[in-house]
């Protein structure tokens, strides 16, 4: 509560210098941490983007399907190496840490996630997963629309945070401006000549009465304004958090360590985006995918250990996705080409762990690809409705049955 008041105070103080003040008009009227309808105000979603198209068949391995080994003469993972879940499927041996969490009931595996009319382009398919719109082009992401519609105060600069050098489509909103933060170190203005320069900066970057018109002007001004204020506040807001345990020294490890700090510092953040990759393994797949899966698994374990040590593990749901799985048959370069459906992971202390959906058939392929068995929008609907307690139909432009691992 003290922290929330501090943030409002800081923003209100800076608004004195502002010229266009619609940003600040409502600042004092709203609490910084509103209760979402459904009473889930403490809950956070972490979205992990496995960039480049992760090979689903070598992530959740169908060791009980003989066709798998026929399609994967060199890349197939031997049944004895697979971390068995049941007689049909198991995990890639690099996912040992995640398997440990699965065995404790903290991991839900959604098999065969995909969408109708799958696209094999990285870019279009990434856009489809991020916007949740397979049939048309839209400018906001599904998380962005959730943030817009969740009644969050636009005055909070950290409603959503993208731990990435570039703002991903999934976090793009209309009402809420999501900061992109590559890493905390160096996130801020280096020039600090004197207070008068800082004050002048705050006013000048919002120059919107310029003698020209540009479709980008308002966006530039808003982001510059938020960059200055947010980067000044963030280190102070995070300073009280002491991480527990050791994270892997990988980019994903660093991102998740910062994510835990943001969660633990209670900034009102509802969604955090992190990314990991590249999984685009057209050639010599095994060493690359092995390394990336191990990094993923170990970083997630460290993340939940840290969260648990601060009592936050039940507040945080983590969801992985990738733009597509890969072709069932390996290619001639010990790699795999772009495919279709693939598994997703949902992780957290607040879910019912287990295996959801059915594994796609390897007998009936769609031009060499597996066909999806779960529409990924059902997973999003589950999160919006059961995790955040908000109606999902508007955000997803349709009604998708929720799965049962939450609520």
């Amino acid at each position: 509560m003290q922290r929330s008041r501090f943030l409002i105070g800081a923003l209100a103080g800076l608004s004195v210098a502002a010229t266009a003040d619609d940003l600040f008009g409502a600042a004092l009227a709203q609490p910084i941490l509103p209760n979402l309808p459904g009473g889930s105000d403490e809950r956070v979603l972490v979205v992990v983007n496995l960039q480049g198209g992760n090979d689903g068949l070598n992530t959740i391995v169908p060791h009980g399907m003989p066709q798998y080994y026929r399609y994967r003469p060199t890349l197939g993972i031997a049944p004895n190496d697979v971390l068995h879940i049941d007689g049909t499927i198991g995990m890639n041996p690099q996912l040992a840490s995640l398997k440990g969490m699965f065995d404790k009931g903290q991991v839900a595996i959604v098999q065969g996630a995909g969408y109708p009319g799958p696209d094999h382009s990285h870019f279009r398919s990434t856009e489809i997963w991020q916007t949740a719109e397979p049939s048309k082009y839209v400018s906001t992401g599904w998380v962005g629309r959730f943030l817009d519609e969740a009644g969050l105060p636009p005055t909070n600069l950290f409603n959503g945070v993208a731990l990435a050098p570039v703002l991903p489509a999934v976090m793009t909103a209309h009402r809420i401006d999501v900061p992109a933060i590559a890493q905390l170190q160096g996130y801020g203005l280096s020039s600090d000549r004197n207070a008068s320069e800082r004050a002048a900066f705050a006013t000048l970057v919002r120059d919107d009465r310029v003698p020209f018109s540009s479709p980008y002007l308002a966006t530039v001004a808003t982001i510059e304004d938020h960059a200055q204020k947010g980067s000044e506040e963030l280190p102070k807001l995070l300073a009280g958090y002491a991480p527990s345990g050791t994270y892997p020294a990988t980019p994903l490890g660093r991102s998740l360590a910062l994510a835990a700090q943001i969660v633990g510092s209670r900034l009102g953040t509802r969604v955090i985006y992190v990314q990991h990759g590249s999984f685009d393994t057209h050639a010599a797949q095994k060493p690359t995918q092995d390394r990336l899966l191990r990094e993923l698994s170990d970083a997630l374990k460290a993340f939940y250990d840290d969260l648990a040590a601060h009592g936050n593990d039940r507040r945080v749901l983590t969801m992985t996705f990738s733009e597509f799985g890969r072709r069932v048959a390996e290619n001639g370069s010990r790699g795999t080409d772009h495919g279709e459906a693939a598994p997703m992971f949902l992780i957290g202390g607040g879910i019912k762990g287990g295996v959801y959906g059915s594994h796609p058939s390897l007998d009936q392929l769609d031009n060499g690809d597996v066909t999806y068995t779960v529409d990924f929008r059902s997973v999003y609907a589950t999160i919006i409705e059961k995790w955040f307690g908000r109606p999902a139909d508007g955000i997803l432009a349709g009604s998708f049955p929720a799965l049962t691992m939450l609520g």
Binding site: V166, D177, P179, A200, F201, L204, S214, P215
Partner: protein, 502 residues
């Protein structure tokens, strides 16, 4: 002010009646600076004055008629390894089994350790070569007498992407690819595409070197249509599979690093591609692609988004596409027409693009007369989101609103701040910016840095900053504090939204 994602960044208003007809309105420093920003990397105050002093057509002629660039270094020096072997060739090192398994070598295994050490050195040298390559190109952008050629080279690099030090691309391979783009910058882009299909860096980057009859690899064939020439929706998945077969056998000789058509690995069976059936080769596929109505439209749209404004009207795309088709993909006439056109000089086009990080950095160097690119610029550009020769992925840089987020804008502001404390580099500019009082100095900075694109309120704010308002300790602008205030005010001017726009 809270709109962070409008659904389109097309400027409001409508097209001029004849958008591509020659602009005949007033010509001044504001529009000359606009031309130099868009068709090059900005200009020094002297270059802007020179372009403004000549008629518009002469200013465009000077860009389109590419002058000799012999005075520039043609390529960076090639770095060899300690034994004098090139870094490009497949290393003659034995594979270390322990490394392949991802484990660290046993400490007593001297042979393995030696290999690990050699590989480490090689990787270090490869990174050094990569930095030399990037710095060489940035320096060339800064110094070239042919900025349009260089700007188009950047455009083509962002279209037909490959990435240095990735997928086995080492040495000067990316620089050779860059030379191909430069050679064809104002030439025929269908012929360029034939060259791209034979380019070693591209053969590696999109795996076509591994595309063989028994197991076609679709990576190059797909991106050729999706990202390089047609755009999604203008071909089927079957066309991808069939054209991948047509490109089988397009590879390179490992020993010489030269293109090689391996007939034994080429699938010479019948293929059906975009309605044509026959024993098609990759070159046939390229010619069929460029005969599609979608091909000139794709080029036209990308050019307009790069040079004019985002999300251009279909009518404008069609008009430029017709011109490109009429000239059979010889690009000089269409580009020349565009740079002289009504739409290019319209108010809707003015400051309607976001400066790319490269435009921001090189443009600032030119503005302040920095003679050479600081090697630290690579790290700065990385934080801003654009290192040449290192596109984020095969799609290249999205540009526009994608350049704008809190992280990248902080990086821009910190670069400007750093430039203004680097006394040596900007002395000449700052000496020239002398003025009698704070009012004049604020006006002069806004004029030089922003072509006057600042509001009266911002001018008053700059003036107040220069005159020490808010710092009672230091007092009004004086000989004592002149330089420090000037540097601070120049930084603040560069932080203003107009300076982020192109």
């Amino acid at each position: 002010m809270t709109v962070s994602a409008p659904s389109t960044f097309r400027p409001p208003g409508s097209l001029p009646t004849e958008p591509l007809a020659a602009y005949a309105g007033p010509w001044n420093a504001r529009l000359a600076a606009h031309l130099l920003r868009r068709a090059g990397f900005g200009g020094s105050p002297a270059e802007i004055a020179r372009a403004a002093g000549a008629p518009m057509n002469a200013a465009v002629d000077a860009l389109v008629h590419v002058p000799a660039t012999d005075s520039l270094p043609a390529a960076p020096a090639l770095i060899d390894d300690a034994e004098g072997r090139p870094l490009t060739a497949t290393p003659a090192l034995p594979e270390a089994p322990a490394m392949m398994a991802g484990a660290s070598p046993a400490p007593d295994d001297a042979a393995t350790s030696a290999i690990v050490e050699l590989r480490k050195q090689r990787n270090m040298l490869r990174r050094e070569q990569d930095r030399a390559n990037v710095t060489w190109w940035l320096d060339r952008m800064l110094a070239t007498p042919a900025p349009l050629q260089e700007k188009l080279t950047l455009f083509l690099h962002g279209t037909f992407t490959s990435s240095d030090n990735q997928k086995g691309i080492y040495g000067l391979e990316i620089v050779d690819q860059n030379a191909l783009f430069r050679r064809y910058a104002l030439g025929n882009w269908r012929e360029l595409t034939h060259g791209v299909a034979r380019d070693v860096a591209m053969l590696k980057y999109l795996d076509n070197a591994r595309n063989v009859k028994a197991h076609p690899n679709e990576n190059f064939a797909r991106e050729l249509m999706e990202l390089f020439t047609l755009g999604i929706g203008n071909y089927s998945e079957n066309d991808v599979r069939e054209s991948a077969r047509a490109f089988t056998g397009y590879t390179f000789r490992r020993r010489t690093g030269e293109f090689f058509f391996n007939a034994a690995q080429h699938d010479d069976g019948a293929k059906t591609f975009l309605g044509r059936t026959g024993n098609l080769t990759g070159d046939d596929v390229i010619d069929i692609i460029y005969a599609q109505p979608a091909a000139p439209k794709y080029v036209a749209r990308r050019l307009l988004e790069f040079f004019v404004y985002s999300d251009p009207e279909p009518q404008l795309v069609d008009e430029l596409a017709a011109l490109i088709r009429k000239n059979d993909f010889n690009m000089a006439p269409a580009i020349s027409t565009l740079l002289r056109s009504n739409v290019f000089y319209s108010e809707r086009s003015y400051r309607a693009l976001v400066k790319s990080p490269v435009e921001f950095v090189i443009g600032s160097y030119k503005l302040f007369g920095v003679p050479q690119v600081n090697p630290d610029a690579i790290a700065v550009l990385r934080r801003m989101g654009q290192v040449p020769f290192h596109p984020p992925n095969v799609k290249g840089w999205d540009g526009g609103v994608q350049w704008l987020n809190t992280q990248t804008l902080l990086a821009r502001e910190n670069f400007a701040s750093g430039l203004m404390v680097a006394a040596m580099q900007t002395d000449n500019f700052l000496r020239a910016a002398s003025a009698a009082n704070a009012t004049e100095l604020a006006r002069s900075l806004a004029q030089t840095i922003l072509q006057g694109d600042a509001s009266p309120a911002s001018l008053a704010n700059l003036e107040a900053f220069l005159d020490g308002h808010g710092t009672s300790a230091n007092g009004a602008l004086s000989g004592e504090n002149y330089e420090e205030r000037l540097r601070g005010a120049a930084y603040l001017t560069m932080a203003m939204p107009a300076y982020q726009l192109c």
